[in-house]
Amino acid sequence: MKLRNGILGLALGLLMGGVSYSAFADDASTFVYADAGEPSTIDPAKANVNWEFTVTRNIYDRLVDFDLDDPSKLLPALATEWKQDGKVWTFKLRDGVTFHDGTAFDANDVKATLDRLLKIGQGQSYLVDDIASVTVVDPKTVKIETKAPTVFLASNLSRIEMLSDEDIAKHKDDLGQAWFNENANGTGPYEFVSWTRGTQIELKRNDKWWGKFPEKPFDRVLDRFVTDGANRARGLEGGEFDLANFVPLDEALRIGTSSGFHLVEGNNLWAWPAIYLNMDLAPTNNKDFREALVKAFDYNAMVQSFQGKAEVGRGPVPSWFPGSPEKEEVEIKTDLDGAKAALAKSGLANAKMKCSVPAGFPEFRFAATVLQSSAQQLGVTVEIEEQPFVEAITAIKSDRSNCFVLGNANLSPSDATKFFSAHYLKGGFYNSGKFFDQTLQDLVAKLPTISDAAERGKLLKQAADIVVNSHYIIWTARPKTVVPEPDRIGGYRIDPAEYINARFWEMYSK
């Protein structure tokens, strides 16, 4: 009976359907982006990874933007003017901006957004956790007071997306967490259309946006979830995708130099891949032993594995970063004799150690392989275990592993202290090897309060030196970011403060 109904339905459908539905839309103005994963949430207060930023960045705006070519230069966005006076920052807001649902943007939105962000305490809230209070002066003026004076507030706000206070009020019970997880209403260049779980998020262009689109922008954007790097490369090359996130480097270089493609290159990586050594677990809790590893490491092998598109870092802060001490730092290079001497001093010959590597990044695995092969020359055995990220970082944090490989950028365009806090200060999420140094703690706390840039540079060098001299980290190599872009499109630029992100509003078809 059921079967017959089904067949009947099918037949009816065949007869009557086809009126409202057509699969084949005009796709000339559709942009397909192959993202490395599916967002767990699209709530800007919680977004944490590249494939979540892809969505939030394009739907929402921030108070200020920054110049991708010179991250120390801030540009107006939702705020047109700002100034710091000790602990108080004042922002003048842009006129005539509306959210996608039509409500107007004003100072109340800023206050509600920041209050909510800090209360939830996730996502990018760490960038602005020095905010003490937010006050609405008038609809177009907002005052932000910080716990201590900080020169970096505006710059860090360039990562904080503004929500509508009406939305927040409407979903008050849980701070709007359920609603914002899968809905979005911003002021940004693209509007949220739909989220097909497991497949894609669809956006459409907001033609009422206050900013300026290039000629021939894309009206429809499909953010596809393609978890496998080889598939992203293959699909980009085969024309299924217009741009892809995290394309394996060898494939990116090959595709980018093949006909119909060009390469977009940029400096941006802070620590990629960096090997963190556990300060609490033998044998890596021994400083001489760590020094032996740092000196034995074959940096050239890493640079070669990046096909020469990499340099060896001299510390945590890359040279392009505003105020970077990199140029004055001592070069780090392989020194086997030095390594052997350090190992002898440690008295830990023939030691064994375990390394946890987050799965999914060939560069990380390779860095661990190089460590293994370098350590072997000292007679030290390194056992590698590739694990999902959470499992790997838990292993080192709970002292079941001696080392951990991590690649990271500093999301703040000009504030190095946020990177230091997360990576080298007590309790920092990425401080997986539990490094602790009181002088460094004090330096990092003091740095944002200093208004003189030269003075800040001096402190930054001191901070970097403390980390370098502790031999806590092996900075294996700092590759360039390389993105293959099809010749049929243009506008892609690399965000220096993030690995790969797509600003869809800058993309256009040729």
């Binding site: 359907g17 409202s20 944490n48 996502g123 779980r197 598939n231 959470v390 997360a422 990425y430």
Partner: protein
């Protein structure tokens, strides 16, 4: 008789499901990782992580977590996915049709291809064709499914541009409105033949990957059954009565050969589910395999347990249906109770 049998099987099926739930629950909790850390996200403070732990009951002792999970399960609640931040039942509703569609299409294709090959092979047992078919199907089973998938992608997408790389529907086009979740059905309901063909095209490589790997067993069994049936008395009788060879083949032989193949297939079910996970990962097929695999990467337990329960339930149901069907398919079997 039949009802008593059914009841017995159902009760046993329930026992099996509970056992699977218990086993997977404890296996998954031994994992030394903290899902709350994932949920809170990088850079979240320790207080925030602790708050989330409490919110999701992850701070409670294991027996307590287990009890509340089982109570929920009894009510049909499969728990909450930490990764997707939705209930697992909602997620399954979304992902299950994609997997079922792939499985059903693969299964039909599998039966058709292995039958045809068996018919060819059984024509002259021991002949060249027979030998070639056996070798080819054997090689097919020996190919690692993930490797086969990648190789097929390479040739049919990358080199030849004949078939898509992955996913269920052409990216730039709009999928038909969801009614059943089966794209083949939905595109027909929407009256779009082109959408139907497009979905079929997307199914081709994943289904072919699964089928090639299973062929050896199906072909071997059908061939054996065919040869045996051919020599049976009734076939000789039928031939004597002047029925055409094709008629004999389809009417008598296929019918009798079907039951061993179906039996073998039910035995292959666990195998197929495992292969489906691999195939879904390779082809970005948004089904429960990919869903559970990705969830596992972040220690999101509930979807993994749910997958184990769902696939075991599928196995139990298929077995039950098979037992009920045998008398229909194979006239020699009297009734299920005996």
């Amino acid at each position: 008789m039949v009802i008593a049998f059914l009841l017995k099987r159902l009760v046993w099926g329930l026992v099996v499901l509970i056992a699977v739930a218990v086993i997977t629950f404890f296996l998954s909790r031994v994992v030394p990782a903290d899902p709350a850390a994932f949920l809170a996200g990088q850079n979240a403070s320790e207080e925030t992580v602790q708050r989330i732990r409490v919110e999701h009951g992850l701070d409670r002792p294991l027996p307590e977590q287990f009890a509340s999970y089982m109570i929920g399960l009894a009510k049909g609640d499969l728990g909450e996915s930490i990764r997707t931040r939705r209930s697992v039942s909602t997620d399954l509703k979304q992902y299950l049709p994609a997997t079922l569609e792939l499985l059903i299409v693969s299964f039909v294709l599998y039966l058709a291809v292995s039958f045809s090959l068996a018919v060819l092979a059984a024509r002259r047992p021991g002949g060249a064709v027979d030998g070639a078919i056996r070798l080819v199907t054997m090689v097919g089973t020996g190919i690692p499914v993930f490797w086969l998938g990648m190789t097929l992608q390479f040739f049919f997408f990358y080199k030849l541009h004949w078939l898509p790389l992955g996913a269920r529907f052409p990216i730039r086009e709009t999928a038909p409105p969801v009614v059943s979740g089966f794209l083949l059905v939905d595109s027909l309901l929407a009256g779009s033949l082109s959408a139907f063909l497009a979905s079929l095209k997307h199914l081709t490589l994943p289904a072919a990957t699964i089928v090639v790997n299973l062929l050896a067993v199906g072909t071997r069994l059908s061939r054996a059954a065919l040869i045996q049936e051919q020599s049976r008395l009734y076939v000789r009788t039928a031939r004597g009565k002047g029925l055409s060879p094709n008629r004999i083949l389809f009417k008598h032989i296929l019918r009798n050969a079907l039951s061993p193949i179906l039996t073998a297939t039910t035995m292959q079910f666990g195998y197929m589910i495992s292969w489906v996970i691999l195939v879904e990962v390779i082809f970005d097929w948004p089904g429960i395999g990919l869903y559970a695999y990705q969830s596992f990467q972040v220690f999101d337990y509930s979807p993994v347990i749910a997958l184990a329960i769902v696939s075991t339930a599928g196995f139990v149901i298929i077995n039950l249906v098979m037992d009920l069907l045998y008398p229909v398919i194979d006239p020699r079997v009297q009734s299920v109770g005996s």
